[in-house]
Symmetry: C2
Subunit: 453 residues, 2 copies
């Protein structure tokens, strides 16, 4: 008789129970018990036993360090494992993994490097730290031969780091496009679905907790820049300098352009993009118009998604919650378990994991080529379209379609929307400057990049 999957006699393979793996205890310490820390604590309280059954690892929180003593009471953490002093965690010889959940790039950097120098394996969610000091940290990691998990730093719980590093190891990745900031995606979705201005949508996002009181880091694109710096460095296996990444936020996006884009079959997204480009790598963050046919267009509200273009797998996308205590905790605990399995298994240290094998040149954004959406506010007079088209043509920008929008009669200027074929960023800058100088054109023209694929 063939054994079928339903045969209950096979469950747990009881006949082999004598050979069952002994549970391996791994002690961890947590630095910082803010939102994400609380999520990790809650997850381990709830699922520690099941994680043991699935992986054979018994994760034990030996110490939690946080200066804010009130967090302990709030989260019902036993006093015996709580300390105000990070050094109590870092210098504890029993602790094998330090879960570094302190934000910022100063104290967190010092503590991380100190923990590494104490031979602690590290799990972190700190994207700013990694984006700014990644090379320094990876050097220390390889020097001390410790393991380093940073799945939680990009896309919350979306397993994009593991996917790129392990699942896609047999691929050359050619492009990464991410919606990696939930705040801006929420705001753009809100603007589009409810015809709101940026300011109105931001205010609602703040009221609902999807935007910080100070939303600068998110709306300006810098948070997305941190994440694409980390992702591109891993995907292309090269150091990426954050300061060379082009970053444009969504503050300048007008309701009107979202409406026009909608009519033309596009959805506005803040995209973080990294691509191979003439043997180098070009990394950028900017508002973009995405065709409604593109799976990225369906990524709405605070959700995140990362699309990978690779030579064997082809186009693949990874979608989910990009932030929040619980999703981030999911990623942190995945990393803890992975590292625990490695360090309890006499695994030989593999330094290739944390090194770069190449140093691709980081290309200037001016050399990038995309399609463009332009909106000019021009006097409704004969000859003006020909004038604008002439300037575009002179700058090697070929027009795909022109839409002259109707407007209320009292306005002298009418919106002129132009979609272009692929053009060079540098060319569009020159062209827009010249067009904005025309006497028939009012105010600053609007330029939004159209991303296909």
């Amino acid at each position: 008789m063939v054994t079928t999957p339903g045969d209950p006699g096979c469950v747990g393979f009881p006949e082999d129970s004598s050979k069952e793996n002994a549970m391996k205890n791994v002690k961890i310490g947590i630095l910082g018990i803010g939102t994400v820390g609380a999520g990790v604590y809650e997850l381990l309280e709830k699922h520690k036993k099941v994680i043991g059954k699935k992986s054979g690892i018994d994760i034990e929180i030996k110490k939690i360090a946080d200066k804010a003593a009130e967090r302990r009471k709030l989260l019902n953490i036993p006093a015996s494992i709580f300390t105000p002093d990070a050094d109590d965690v870092i210098s504890d010889p029993d602790i094998r993994i330090v879960v570094q959940l302190i934000g910022g790039t100063t104290v967190s950097r010092e503590l991380m490097l100190k923990a590494i120098s104490h031979k602690k394996n590290i799990v972190t969610a700190n994207k700013a730290l990694l984006a700014e000091h990644g090379v320094e940290i990876f050097k220390a990691v390889v020097k001390e031969e410790v393991e380093f998990g940073y799945e939680a730093s990009v896309g919350g719980g979306i397993p994009i780091i593991k996917t790129i590093r392990e699942s896609l190891v047999g691929n050359q990745i050619d492009k990464v496009i991410g919606i990696v900031n939930g705040t801006t995606n929420f705001i753009l979705t809100k603007m589009m679905r409810e015809d709101l201005s940026f300011d109105e949508a931001l205010k609602i996002a703040q009221e609902l907790g999807f935007a910080e009181a100070d939303p600068y880091l998110d709306v300006s694109g810098w948070d997305a820049c941190h994440k694409i710096t980390i992702l591109s460095s891993l995907a292309f296996n090269t150091p990426v300098d954050m300061s060379k990444v082009f970053v444009e936020g969504i503050e300048g996006i007008h309701m009107k352009d979202i409406q026009y884009a909608d009519e033309l079959g596009f959805v506005p997204k803040l995209l973080a993009i990294a691509e191979r480009h003439d043997n180098g790598v070009l990394v950028r963050v900017h508002p973009s118009l995405v065709s409604k046919e593109n799976p990225l267009a369906a990524v709405s509200w605070e959700d995140n998604a990362i699309m990978l273009y690779s030579d064997f797998l082809g186009k693949s996308m990874y979608y989910g919650k990009g932030a929040g205590a619980k999703p981030t905790a999911s990623a942190v605990v995945g990393d803890i378990t992975d590292i625990a399995l490695k360090i309890t298994s006499k695994t030989e240290y593999n330094k290739n994991r944390y090194s770069f094998y190449q140093d691709l040149q980081q290309k200037d954004f001016e050399t990038s080529r995309t399609k463009f959406y332009f909106r000019f506010s021009a006097l409704d007079r004969p000859g003006i379209l020909s004038k604008i088209a002439g300037i575009l043509g002179k700058n090697n920008i070929s027009i795909a379609s022109v839409i002259q929008k109707e407007t209320e009669e009292e306005f002298e200027h009418v919106p002129l929307v132009i979609l272009t074929h692929e053009a060079l960023e540098a060319d569009t800058r020159r062209a827009v400057k010249e067009i904005d100088g025309l006497s028939e054109v009012e105010g600053k023209s609007i330029k939004i990049r159209v991303i296909e694929g």
Copy 2:
């Protein structure tokens, strides 16, 4: 000076080059060099060196076994590594990993069990074999303490197995919804976008190579059943009996219902669904209507996607090409590299990885609850709606909305479309039977499940 990621002095950490890992050679053998085998061969030819740089593993194909000698010439495989005899691979003491790419469930099962008994680690893409004989195979795997990779068996190169097992280890997964058959998704997309009948769309799918000459396994839902059996068994960590999975194919889907569903804001998909259900697990495959708001609705043509609902990560989705030589090769090589890293690293064997820790009861499909789309063909006479509504109500089926469609005048019967609130599968069967028996109702009524989430 803070080291920035752009600092070229850090690339490859040259100062530590003396400590560089030695490349670890792992010899593999391939059984069957069909489409997927050719993809694996091509991938390794192209990316072997880069995989070495990324992972430290030198994957060497020592032998390829295939009865079809012409494949060797076609693929430019050196005669020295080619053999018609699978035993040459299985009994080669140098070969550590056997990549089993033979289809079917008879010869492939024998060869797989034989390879395992020879202590070979296994990588496979054979979903039918795993769905039918999974428990038997995993028992052998654990007994012989070999590693077993089957990422390629579900969703082509989409890294869903690794995601469930490793990245989401800290989650309880409550539901898995997959578009896991590219053929049916292509046909349904074609029917919807071009107003074609099932037969017309199938014919085009066959011409384009998206459907087999004998499309039965795909259109009947059985291929999807294989995949959801594998996925649910892993996601819920329990044996799942394929023969208890409810399976309904897309052969009965009418163009008319796709059009009506479109108007109502739905897209038709063949969904493979597994969910926790009263302490058990309910697994099923059937055509479904999905709201256009659902990210699964944007998964078109031959693409696949798997949505996971878990308690910490929340809703996450994994999207990509679900079949084809290259995507599948990507998954196979990911598994090979993972296993090579394990077996070259003195990693202690972890049997939890391939065991089930529970045996959830497999619930009967009759106990499932969903919303429903019904289409009845009824005489256009007063009282008929009340009669049908009465039968639905008597069977605990509550109506959400009714749409009476216009039809050409020569027809006596008009289509009556009813959307319901959540109802019990068993109740709808009774109700439809009674309604179909009414003299005012013509032919068999249409019932399509509406899946939310």
